[in-house]
Symmetry: C2
Subunit: 517 residues, 2 copies
């Protein structure tokens, strides 16, 4: 068969079932093969940042990769920002990039770029397919590489897609963790036993229910607090799950909170650092005096290491009943009156249903949301892991594709939303149950905050021009409807509650503009 068909057959054999794409001429053979070979659904993004962000949301939810099919260097470039977020979230993604025919590359046609250099900036694994015969091996290797929680990018020249490639579909990926270091597990257990006030800092797969159950087991023998990075990847939360705090965004608060711990054990995370480097402020959140340990590295299995740690500590089995857990879903009340960021968060927290997925990119509007929702019904939360704005709408799109039976709530800052607003259309086309809640404060308020931090109170004309997005104001209702998504604009908590309840009750996407002061 031809290289393109072999590639798609390999992808299905390796368990890929979704392809987020914006294809061009150099990917046409693969597009055709996606119809010849059953098993993969192609989903169009109107911009590549939508495709890669959706692949991020999909991969975070399922722990296995979607394929992103991207057109040459420029198509890949458009997807880099959300791949950057995915990289920081340790999301498995397989990018397939169509490349000019090998014999045409020396002609340097208009769309030619250094695709290898571009892909390397965000990928843990990069390969340029060298011949049609190795297409299957290359794709299987890409899938295997992605399962370590990284981005794998395979560049496939057009002529290799079109050429005879043999019939051997490689369905087994190479994927094997390095063994867990049992002496390190033992040492960690000992240090946890002797520490005065230990903390575990967790990210990646261990933040999902099985990991949290193991962490709850450990907490039964070692009193310790659980933390996640400020911008963690994907966390099951609420219900009877143990509480995991986020490390605060601003360095002083973060350092002050963390200073009380004499031992911080990293599980799938890394030593916390400040988001930006502020003059006169230490870049590491922890001091040199605090004891730090890494339970495992990225080539080892976090879950296995955690289980070994629980065993080493003699932790009992997980047996937390819904009623007997430390946390009982807390009864929150929808507040009254005009919306503020805090009241908007409280309204959402009070109404978000069990089993929902919350994709949060509220930036300055949602500081209060996370602590409010520690004890609401069980749900899954995601944050902007790489800090590159415009992740929320695409990520929510991909999460809804991954989990069609779960409502997705995307709490979304307005300035960030405008980066990848085209995602709304994919939500409409695919009938995804995504509710986008726009935090409409008509500006990049985080920059205002950072200016205040820097002691700058005056804003000149140029500074205002680069911070405010209110002249003209974005008409969110028109914008959403323009992309085929029903929309409403609300000014009060009551109106937000009404619209949110109704959007949760209806299938398909909705957008609600929360007009904030």
């Amino acid at each position: 068969m031809k290289g393109a068909e072999l590639l798609v057959r390999t992808a299905t054999a390796c368990g890929i079932d979704v392809c987020f794409a914006n294809a061009g001429t150099t990917e046409i053979p693969i597009v055709i093969a996606l119809d010849v070979v059953p098993g993969i659904k192609a989903i169009l993004g109107l911009f590549e940042g939508v495709c890669t962000g959706a692949a991020d949301g999909y991969g975070r939810m399922l722990g296995r990769p979607a394929m992103a099919l991207l057109h040459l260097g420029p198509g890949f470039a458009n997807g880099i920002a959300n791949l950057h977020n995915a990289r920081r979230a340790q999301t498995p993604i397989v990018n397939v990039i169509g490349e000019h025919a090998t014999w045409h590359i020396p002609n340097d046609p208009p769309l030619a770029m250094d695709v290898d250099a571009l892909t390397r900036t965000v990928s843990g694994w990069v390969r340029r397919n060298g011949s049609p015969e190795t297409v299957s091996r290359d794709l299987a290797d890409a899938v295997g590489a992605s399962l370590f929680g990284q981005i794998a990018s395979l560049i496939v020249p057009h002529d290799h897609q079109l050429s005879e490639a043999g019939d051997k579909v490689i369905g087994e990926m190479y994927f094997a963790y390095d063994p867990v270091d049992l002496s390190l597990v033992e040492e960690t257990a000992n240090r946890l036993r002797t520490a005065k006030k230990p903390a575990l800092l967790v990210d990646g797969p261990a933040l999902r229910r099985p990991g949290l159950e193991t962490l709850a087991r450990i907490q039964q023998v070692i009193p310790c607090d659980l933390f996640a990075p400020t911008f963690f990847s994907c966390m099951d939360r609420g219900g009877n799950l143990p509480d995991v705090q986020r490390i605060p965004y601003f360095p002083e608060t973060a350092a002050s909170l963390m200073s009380g711990y004499d031992l911080v054990v990293n599980v799938g995370s890394h030593e916390p650092v400040t988001f930006f480097g502020y003059p006169g402020v230490r870049g590491q959140v922890l001091s040199d005096e605090q004891d730090k340990m890494y339970l495992c590295n990225r080539w080892q299995d976090d879950m296995e290491a955690l289980t070994r740690l629980a065993e080493a500590l003699g932790a009992p089995g997980y047996a937390m009943s819904p009623a007997g857990g430390q946390a009982i879903a807390q009864a929150l009340k929808v507040p009254d009156g005009g919306l503020t960021p805090e009241k908007a968060c409280l309204t959402i927290a009070a109404l978000q249903p069990e089993n929902s997925i919350v994709v949060e990119e509220g930036i300055t509007s949602t500081f209060s949301y996370f602590p409010l929702t520690a004890n609401v019904p069980e749900h899954t939360a995601m944050t902007i892991a790489g800090g590159s704005i415009g992740y929320g709408m695409p990520c929510a799109t991909g999460a809804a594709v991954a989990c069609p039976d779960r409502p997705v709530i995307n709490i979304q800052a307005d300035g960030s939303a405008l980066y990848t607003v085209q995602a709304l259309w994919t939500q409409a086309r695919e009938g995804l149950h995504v509710i986008t809640l726009i935090c409409s404060n008509r500006g990049y308020r985080i920059i205002d905050m950072e200016l205040e931090r820097a002691g700058i109170s005056e804003r000149g004309q140029n500074a205002r021009a680069l911070i405010d997005i209110d002249g003209p104001p974005i008409d969110w209702v028109r914008l959403a409807r323009g992309f085929g998504v029903p929309a409403a604009s609300v000014h009060t908590c009551e109106a937000l509650a009404k619209e949110l309840r109704s959007a949760l009750a209806e299938p398909g996407p909705h957008l609600i503009e929360m007009v904030l002061p």
Copy 2:
């Protein structure tokens, strides 16, 4: 003064007066300096692809750089696709990228990326500022490098922006062309004299009025045809200017047209190649038997070389009167009835006023537009030089900023428009006289064409999903109004003519959806 202020003072001293920006915390000192130092207007893009595309439009029109101020690696990454177009258009652009503080980079904070690798993929000149003291030298070098028709990217760490940097503003850029090779000019003149049927293939600055005047002089002594690449940078056209044909997009038509010339002299262009590599079709448009010459290289002055060539040929001075020129503005009539791509092009050609700027990204809808407008009133035309879709709206935005007294007509394919649709908001905020004409055919029709070329007539469900954008249809009127741009949708030539006339008569931006079959 501080590094940031020194940088901005240097920029103004080097003639920069516009900064297209989407800044973040690592660029705040520069944002503040833009208010302290008079002379540079900051213009916000809601997405970096808008900023870089606007810098492209600005640079193409004026031949000098705007600054694009971009936030770290992800911000730059979002701007790459339109920088790729700018690179192919030989547009001068100066990118300034804020980077994490030097002491914070080893901490690998969330937004950290390999900015150097990213910038190198599209820039002819890249530098990472090494100390506050060299900020002025670095920025002046960047401006000088850009004037060769390339992208210059300067990475400036946050701490260097904040540190004392001295007061010496370097206002002189290093910018000097290599001397024109006079023996090569002489040889070109001789070969032109002896060729049976010579052609000149021109791109870059020589496509503007002074270059075209020189080409007209040459044509008076050497009968020769003038060509531009399929996707040229920026061309003055119409009125009494000599006709410059485009090399056709599809390879067979291109090769057939060009095969009649025994000599092709390149001026600021390169040997034409096919846009994609098609199996069994030669990648170069010209055959090995055709004689090819390069009058100059990119480090030499095209205009100087052309003038020397005219002198070597003994060409008379330019003395074409508006009435006496070869071309007289042709009287086109607005057609009747339902819109087709051809009738839409004819309507636009008939109505586009003298002195307008036409940014064309019509893809499959505008094949007929270019030949129609050879003899309409004089105007300036731009095309998608790098082939990366989503250039039109941002480029039109930047062109309008560069030339506020000229109406800008952006003929814009719908699928491409959706890549960078946020540009509409900048047009609204800045009150730019841009008229966006959406070629609404609700699909990526170019892929349909390429499928037909490849002999594939059947489209499965996945192929259709990746080609059609009609489910749901984009509501262009709502979308435009959502961004603050007045809009209308038209189905007939009469309605298009009415709306276009009215948009041309009014200041500020307008969008007209041309509903095509």
